[in-house]
Symmetry: C2
Subunit: 215 residues, 2 copies
DNA sequence: TAGATTGTTAATCGATTAACAATC
DNA sequence: TAGATTGTTAATCGATTAACAATC
């Protein structure tokens, strides 16, 4: 872990999780015609601690900010893109073209972040051959060959919780290394495969819970 | 903050965020006919540190676990429900019945967590009067009266990013105290209103980023 | 009993906040 | 220059991990 220690190039996970927030805000600002921005303005708008923002930015920016002026927005955005890997387009497959799956297929936001779902897969014969959001829906039998041919590493699971584990096992055997799971269930995976669970219900529950604390 | 210090009833935020995970796992186990479970089994299955799980459970459970046996699953689930507030049904409104909005309206997972979207709202005349997932779609003009009548505190925003700020301002003026934002943009809110941003694209980007680190 | 598993107290780790000198 | 804003080092805070005695 002591590879490149030129200038404390170690960026905290927590910082990484805030970068999209900054990026989104900077995009707004540049659309409003702004050219420079100070960390304190960002902090205030985003309701974050000013020192925290300053430290985050210090970690990612290639050109230091200028006292009195702040950071050049355009440069800063490029730096953030670099760190988030928005430049290397990431291709993924989606399994399960139900309602949620269709939403994800046609979600345009992904493009902006360098993400591309190449196809949806489903067992339902009626869906196969259709296009949703410009993406083809293919038979499950095509899954393996597509993953191999395009060397895809990331899969999105939008099937029912009953099928999630079986599908995941298949995906892993085909070479998938990262799974974004929307099925509201726990999935067991071998070492080396990373997973991100997106439990929408739990997410909303957490919000309402916090609300009830604030009375 | 020194109200009820009977038995360290202060539960960490991080613990709270893991509770849905435990809950989901316990549900599986009880369906398999299990009656007791040990923290170490939970930890192993969920790939968490055993001590962490033990501590989390110690914090929420009303009946202590039994050495050698573990915790009674059913009791534990009830305790978790208590802590997550799954029991007090939370009602919310959804603004923006586009593709994402429709998915959320018909997402059945919410029910299990004591969450209920009472109606969807949209400006599109063609949608008004329809039912999706059993929930009516109403005109925006009905929004205020519904929030007031049912005393609703939580709103879900699934409109385009251009409209998100304006809608939020309206919602706050109607009395909404918590916003779950799916529009990929930053929203400015007054003190006292809490927000949870659900940036799907950023979420996937983070996953693929982590993948690329693992090479 | 012996052994597994619990709950708790202390140690470590990581992230946030505070303080402050440097700079335009 | 004076003042705002930067980057960095140190202090605090919170969460995780380790250690261990207590219990069935």
């Amino acid at each position: 872990m002591k590879t490149n220690r030129n200038k404390s190039i170690i960026i905290m996970k927590s910082t990484l999780s805030r970068l999209p927030l900054y990026y989104c805000f900077l995009k707004e600002k540049i659309n409003e015609g702004e050219q420079y921005i100070s960390s304190s303005v960002i902090a205030e708008s985003l309701k974050l601690n000013a020192i925290l923002v300053r430290k985050d930015l210090a970690g990612v920016c290639s050109v230091p900010g200028k006292p009195r002026l702040g950071f050049e927005i355009e440069k800063l955005m490029i730096d953030i893109e670099e760190h988030l890997g928005y430049n290397n387009v990431n291709e993924s497959v989606l399994i399960g073209v139900g309602r949620l799956g269709r939403t994800l297929l046609s979600y345009e936001g992904f493009m902006n972040y360098g993400l591309n779902i190449v196809a949806g897969f489903d067992v339902d014969e009626d869906l196969i051959g259709l296009k949703i959001g410009g993406k083809p829906i293919l038979s499950m039998s095509k899954l393996e060959s597509m993953i191999e041919r395009l060397n895809i590493r990331t899969a999105i699971i939008a099937v029912s919780k009953e099928h999630a584990q079986a599908i995941s096992d298949k995906l892993v055997s085909f070479g998938i290394k990262a799974i974004w799971n929307f099925a509201p269930t726990h999935i067991d995976l071998p070492e080396g495969v990373i997973i991100k669970n997106e439990n929408l219900a739990a997410s909303l529950a957490a919000l309402t819970k916090e609300l009830s604390k604030n009375l």
